[in-house]
């Protein structure tokens, strides 16, 4: 029923980037997605490389990349650099992503030369490379000497501004940044649910003019009271975040910024929506509710992918296929008899160091502590690819017209490295080009 040049399976960041790039190259692209994956759960900022292999933080992403691929020759960053400099590929790929986002109202700041420290809604920090410009006012380097007010809301569950304020002071000092003051306050606004308020509801409220006005007034009172220079909010809105930021800044004369948060993250939803609109604008069709459940092949060619919709199966035929189904959240990797399995093509799996998994049971791939220094081997498992992102087994390409992108790829653990979206973007980009070249 579906016939196209390139079929992308999975609409996370990797799939979207691959689709965008392939469409840019002038081929027809269709994305199928069964639901959502890690991209929607992320905090909506683009990590490139935040930590060195020993777990130490690095403020230079590219330096981090260089050191990492020295240790891990199977790292996707290493694999994509066989023909060109990895820095160039990452730069081009992230530019492609950021351009698409910014034409749909999600603008980013930051550059590939430098990592920044952002503050989060837990009360600690996050290291990243590109961040939404609603967060710019709050990168740690700008907070030296600041008098920070962390603003919470009565009723908002899972965000404790007072604790966060003391957390920020504590962690800032570890980076030699002295916050002159950090206070937390909970605003009582009758328009809000008085308990179990969620971030998404708050964001929608801030989008509304009337509410924003009330909020601005309250914030102004608070800033005057506390002689505040910076204001941290858990969210600045879902659709009108720039407007809100501008108005609140004008009103309070303070640097107003947004914190990053664990799921559910409003900035991530913004980003994903922008990217989805971006690829659609490039003529890519996104088909929701279709799950790839199998495939037909002849020799080393994939002939079609079987899609399930409402229990009915349809073949989808394409010249090239891009598999961007993610890891466990996405559903690219699943468990069968306590072992990991690639869900659609049953591709052979490898670990972080490039060694084939030989039926190890999952507990064997886990460390005994939840956040070990070297990470869990399980998070480094996935499909092994060559420089075109074709899956390989023992150096041989498995299918000529199949390309893999994103966190399904082995050789790295984004959890340990803080490199998730960066790798998804770069590998998606390369897979998109490779697939377009293959069919074109």
């Amino acid at each position: 029923m579906i016939e196209t040049d390139v079929l992308v399976i999975g609409g996370g960041v990797a799939g979207l980037l691959a689709a965008a790039k392939a469409a840019d190259e002038g081929v027809e692209v269709v994305i199928v997605d069964r639901g959502s994956g890690a991209s929607y759960q992320s905090s909506g900022v683009i990590d490139v490389m935040g930590c060195l292999p020993e777990g130490e933080i690095t403020l230079s992403p590219l330096e981090g990349v260089t050191q990492t691929i020295e240790c891990l020759p199977q790292h996707p960053y290493s694999v994509i650099s066989s023909e060109r400099s990895v820095a160039d590929v990452i730069k081009e790929a992230t530019k492609c992503l950021l351009d698409m986002a910014s034409t749909h109202e999600v603008r980013f700041d930051g550059n590939i030369e430098k990592n920044v420290i952002l503050l989060n809604t837990i009360g600690s920090f996050k290291i990243t490379c590109f961040y939404q410009s609603t967060m710019s006012g709050g990168t740690l380097n700008k907070l030296d000497g600041a008098s920070l007010l962390v603003v919470g809301f009565n009723g908002l569950a899972g965000f404790n501004p007072r604790f966060c304020a003391s957390g920020f002071k504590h962690f800032a000092s570890k980076f030699n940044v002295e916050l002159r003051k950090a206070d937390g306050v909970k605003l009582s606004l009758p328009a809000l649910r008085d308990f179990n308020l969620t971030f998404i509801e708050l964001a929608r409220m801030i989008d509304k003019d009337e509410f924003r006005e009330i909020l601005a007034k309250k914030l102004r009172d608070e800033t005057v009271k506390g002689n505040t220079s910076h204001i941290a909010l858990p969210t600045l809105g879902l659709r009108k975040h720039y407007e809100s930021m501008r108005i609140l800044r004008e009103e309070t004369e303070a640097e107003v910024f947004e914190l990053v948060s664990p799921p559910p993250s409003v900035p991530a939803q913004r980003l994903m929506r922008a990217l989805e609109e971006g690829v659609a604008e490039k003529g890519v069709r996104i088909l929701r509710g279709y799950k790839a459940v199998g495939f037909k092949s002849e020799g080393r060619r994939v002939m079609s992918v079987i899609l399930d919709s409402g229990g009915k199966h349809f073949p989808a035929k394409a010249g090239a296929y891009i598999l961007a189904t993610g890891k466990f959240i996405g559903g690219g990797l699943v468990e069968e008899e306590d072992k990991v399995k690639e869900a659609v093509f049953n591709l052979p799996l490898y670990d972080e160091r490039g060694k084939a998994l030989r039926g190890q049971k999952i507990p064997r791939l886990l460390a005994r502590s939840p956040f070990p220094q070297g990470g869990h081997p399980l998070m480094g498992c996935g499909v092994k690819v060559n420089a075109q992102m074709k899956p390989v087994v023992e150096g041989e390409v498995v299918y000529e017209n199949l390309f893999v992108a994103g966190s399904l790829i082995s050789g790295y653990s984004y959890v340990r490295e803080k490199s998730g979206m960066g790798v998804a973007t770069a590998t998606g980009y390369v897979a998109g080009i490779s697939a377009a070249i293959y069919v074109g």
Partner: protein, 545 residues
């Protein structure tokens, strides 16, 4: 230095019951628990409080005591006692013969006793009651058993003890027993949260440390042997079956799958251990043994969502040359003055959760005798906190304007204490936000147990409220609870994050042994949330800006 009449070591079901009884009989009492209340075998047990059909024949007297205790517990802690209907699924002819002769003997007894009857079901009847049963069963039997929530029982017992004047010190480890001339006169303890040590004097020391009894006795040079036997449980998200299921294990023992609260509990193994009980761990093999066994009767158990495995060590009386199941479940109160010539030291071996009150009664009788006081035991008469009345969920919900779900879950845990908890949120509606969504635990409840129930660590909050007992195992509520705990107890930020790490590490122990199906997605989510967003694993280097 103050002197206590009684020092109780161990804050499991036994120790807290002893403290309660002693306090109720007017003794100046202090209890030391090195971890949290119910952090030993008590917290790892299935909570079944009937005598167990098996023991009706093997140990009729003990069994009668259990029956009596079920009545007592229902009287004093009715809100945490519940009945579970159970189906025994019979899979083979041999098993049928065994069970039939058992049922016959058992049946003959039920006439005389208050035990629940066993009813024989055809496979069709059994499957119509419990559709998840395998079509391969050849016969089934129905009976029912009573259960209790072991965490709440222990905490409420401690609360009651406190109300009668006892002091309860959790996270305080007894590191030595002070003794002179064959007489004990106190203990040396270390506060595990701040490292401080002190000495506390007392006339009688009750060693109620379960599997650790020999370790305490060794402090005064007394050799005491128990048969330490490890048992493992697998905890599932949600109720897999509506009925409890019992069936034969792969090795001919018996395994069970009980619905419990919002989950299911599958158990158990029985492995004699010869290392310290501290080292006991649930293993993959045990999990596989349990699941493969239960799978015969309930095939879907293999696909069900495992959220945790846990193990405990049974402090059995040292009987050997028989399988674990045939060891007596009765207990022995030991007067070490009589046995070893150590005056003032009393310990207890064996026993079960169900008889904790009875064990305490015996021990306290001995304490009375030793301290020369006559006071009757009243622990079976006075209700535990929260059990002093009925509560209407609908009224509770409308009075405090919370959802019936929150009100209901709260009432099932806290009974009438629910009023006190929700009224804390009268002026701070904010406190009604749920911290743990899976178990509908509000911030108000957390604050209440921090203030009133020795909720000093996240782990302690979990035991009291079930926060973090759901499928995420505390990974999605841990950081929220941490900020509440830090605020309430004035904990500094770095210590708070350390506490969070400890909590997650503790949870992880029961997690990583087996990660299946949907748990893998949850695993990636929480790994990334804490590491990518929370940077919990990040080493902060040189400090250049």
């Amino acid at each position: 230095m103050e002197e206590y009449d009684v020092i109780v070591i161990g804050g499991g079901s036994t120790g807290t019951s002893v403290a309660r009884d002693c306090a109720m009989r007017g003794f100046k009492t202090i209890l030391f628990e090195r971890g949290d209340l119910a952090s030993g075998a008590t917290g790892a047990c299935a909570g079944m409080i009937s005598g167990g059909t098996k023991y009706v024949l093997q140990e009729p007297e003990f069994s009668a005591m259990c029956t009596m205790e079920v009545i007592n517990l229902s009287r004093i802690a009715g809100h945490i006692v519940f009945r579970t209907p159970i189906i025994t699924a019979i899979l083979t002819e041999e098993e049928l013969k065994l069970r039939a002769s058992f049922a016959e003997k058992y049946g003959a007894l039920t006439e005389k006793r208050q035990a629940s009857p066993i009813l024989v079901l055809s496979p069709q009847e059994a499957r119509s009651l419990e559709p998840k049963l395998s079509s391969k069963i050849i016969l089934a039997a129905y009976f029912d058993e009573m259960f209790i929530d072991p965490f709440r029982l222990t905490v409420l017992t401690a609360l009651s003890a406190k109300r009668h004047g006892a002091e309860i010190r959790t996270y305080t480890e007894v590191i030595d027993i002070l003794h002179k001339d064959g007489e004990v006169y106190g203990v040396k303890v270390r506060d595990r949260l701040n490292g401080k040590e002190e000495e506390v004097k007392g006339k009688i020391i009750v060693n109620a440390t379960g599997a650790w009894v020999p370790e305490i006795s060794r402090m005064v040079g007394v050799k005491q042997t128990l048969r330490l036997n490890k048992g493992t449980h697998v905890i599932f998200d949600r109720r897999i079956t509506r009925f409890g299921i019992i069936c034969q294990a792969l090795d001919g023992r018996t395994v069970y799958l009980f619905p419990h609260e919002t989950g299911s509990i599958l158990g158990t193994t029985a492995i004699d251990i010869f290392t310290s009980p501290d080292e006991a761990e649930a293993t993959y093999d045990e999990v596989e043994y349990l699941i493969s066994s239960m799978e015969m009767a309930v095939p879907s158990v293999r696909k069900a969502r495992v959220v945790r495995v846990m193990c405990g060590v049974r402090p059995l009386i040292a009987q050997w040359w028989v399988p674990e199941g045939d060891v007596t479940r009765n207990f022995k109160v030991i007067d070490h003055e009589e046995r070893d010539g150590v005056k003032g030291l009393v310990s207890v071996e064996g026993g079960k959760l169900v008889v904790c009150r009875a064990m305490a009664e015996k021990i306290t009788d001995l304490v009375c005798e030793k301290l020369g006081r006559e006071a009757p035991c009243r622990t079976h008469l006075e209700p535990l906190p929260g059990a002093d009345g009925k509560i209407s969920v609908e009224e509770l919900a409308s009075k405090y304007r919370v959802s019936p779900q929150v009100a209901g879950r709260l009432a099932s845990r806290q009974g009438t204490l629910a009023h006190a908890i929700l009224s804390e949120a009268r002026d701070e509606r904010d406190f009604l936000s749920s911290v743990c969504l899976c178990e509908s635990v509000t911030e108000a409840e957390l604050r209440y147990v921090i203030r009133n129930e020795w909720g000093v660590t996240l782990d302690a909050l979990r035991r009291r409220t079930r926060m973090g007992m759901g499928p995420c195992q505390g990974f999605s509520c841990g950081f929220k609870a941490m900020s509440v705990l830090a605020e309430e107890r004035g904990i500094k930020v770095d210590e708070a994050f350390k506490e969070l790490e400890n909590f997650l590490a503790e949870r992880w122990k029961g997690h990583f042994v087996i990660l299946r199906g949907a748990q893998l997605s949850e695993y990636e989510m929480t790994q990334a949330a804490y590491a990518c967003v929370g940077s919990i694993d990040v080493k902060i280097g040189g400090g250049d800006k």
